[in-house]
């Protein structure tokens, strides 16, 4: 066997071994591979327990009490299921749930339709397609705070560009409607902004799905003289479906928690028309300081999203198995 000089990796390993204290080296040598693996993943598990699992369990515990985070010395009483009972019989919270449902349903529908259509167009390699892909991706790279602020300017009834564009197409007076100040239009104003910002994200995932379809399937379809429409329904859509579903799942979970952009655009107004669940939650927790009550509300939202994600993952697995 030829005597090869030691590589950089070997030399580094030797150096590390030489630097390891003899006592530690002896104790590591006695460990099984499984035990060493556990030592490696232990920091991650401890971190996960500390920042994810512990707060969740703590929130469940708090949801059964009247705890207020701004009154640390006050007596904490066990109130049983009263917090849950109050939330589930409160018409204001019910209204917030409806605002959330409106926001989530329409944003996901529009983002999926537009995102897939854009991906389908970008997938056809035309001159300058790389440039247009980058341009389309810009909105999702911006911070929600920036997006919220500049759309506030765009929606200004006197000087906002959005009203002038609507005027151009409809002939209505620019100052005759207020996107953020009208009870009827404000829920659609936040839907438009979220769709503008996150459609590129859906497009990116759909594009990955479309690019993963092998060319030979289309070639076989061409040999069979399948029409473009038939190819789309029988090849493109079914094969890109797991990716579309994944995009819907990601956006669905994100939009249930939507806070920053809506808060900056409307602050939940006018009245409480755009007060989505996360804004109500923030008000209960950090304005009214009803920590126990808001913990119960957070648990309700968590169970709703968790249940939906379970169904969705099951559906995704089914589609992938087909």
């Amino acid at each position: 066997m030829p005597n090869n000089p030691p590589s950089i990796l070997d030399r580094s390993a030797d150096k590390a071994a030489a630097l390891t204290p003899a006592r530690m080296s002896r104790s590591i040598k006695g460990l099984s591979d499984r035990a060493v693996a556990w030592w490696f993943i232990a920091p991650t598990i401890i971190l996960l327990l500390a920042i994810n699992i512990f707060p969740l369990i703590w929130a469940v515990k708090l949801s059964f009490t009247n705890y207020r985070a701004n009154r640390l010395n006050a007596e904490v009483k066990d109130v049983g299921l009263r917090n849950y009972e109050r939330i589930l019989t409160d018409p204001d919270i019910w209204q917030a749930m409806q605002a959330t449902a409106h926001f989530v349903f329409w944003t996901i529908l529009l983002q999926t339709l537009i995102g897939f259509a854009l991906a389908y167009l970008i997938d056809r390699k035309f001159r300058g397609h790389a440039f247009w892909t980058t341009v389309i991706l810009i909105p999702m790279m911006l911070s929600p705070a920036v997006v919220g602020n500049f759309w506030r300017f765009l929606y200004q009834p006197q000087i906002g560009l959005f009203n002038y564009i609507v005027t151009f197409f409809t002939g209505a007076e620019p100052s005759s409607f207020q996107m953020l100040g009208s009870v009827d239009l404000a829920p659609w104003a936040i839907v438009i902004v979220d769709t503008w910002m996150w459609t590129p994200y859906v497009m990116l995932i759909c594009l990955a799905g479309l690019r993963s379809i092998p060319d030979y399937i289309y070639e076989a379809a061409e040999v069979d003289r399948a029409s473009n429409w038939r190819r789309f329904w029988s090849i493109t859509l079914p094969m890109a479906l797991p990716f579309i579903m994944l995009a819907v799942l990601f956006r669905g979970i994100e939009n249930f928690k939507m806070f920053d952009m809506v808060m900056l655009l409307t602050g939940g107004g006018p009245g409480s028309t755009t007060e989505v669940a996360s804004i109500t939650l923030k008000r209960e927790a950090f304005e009214k300081w009803r920590t126990g009550y808001s913990s119960a509300f957070a648990i309700i939202l968590f169970v709703a999203v968790f249940g939906l994600a379970n169904i969705y993952v099951k559906a995704l697995n089914r589609v992938k198995q087909r």
């Binding site: 849950y84 589930l88 019989t89 018409p91 019910w94 749930m97 409806q98 959330t100 449902a101 309700i300 169970v303 709703a304 968790f306 249940g307 939906l308 994600a309 379970n310 169904i311 993952v313 099951k314 697995n317």
Partner: protein, 69 residues
């Protein structure tokens, strides 16, 4: 989150009605019903009972996804 790919055990004497497929579908239906009840704009009563429905469906889903096929 359960991925719905729990380990399959030998069928043995496991009752047919308690097979994973059937029970998972039932749990899915309960979760879907709870979800619609939570976000529907029609009746407050449905909203009131939505959380219990969702919780039952979700816990059931987690349990039955470990049942044999």
């Amino acid at each position: 989150m359960s991925t719905g790919t729990g380990q399959s055990q030998p069928e043995g004497k496991w009752p047919k009605l308690l097979r994973r497929g059937i029970m998972e579908n039932l749990a899915t239906l309960i979760i879907a019903a709870g979800f619609i009840m939570l976000f529907q704009p029609f009746t407050l009563i449905l909203y009131t009972y939505s959380f219990v429905t969702l919780l039952v469906g979700t816990v059931m889903f987690i349990i039955v996804s470990k049942f044999p096929e």
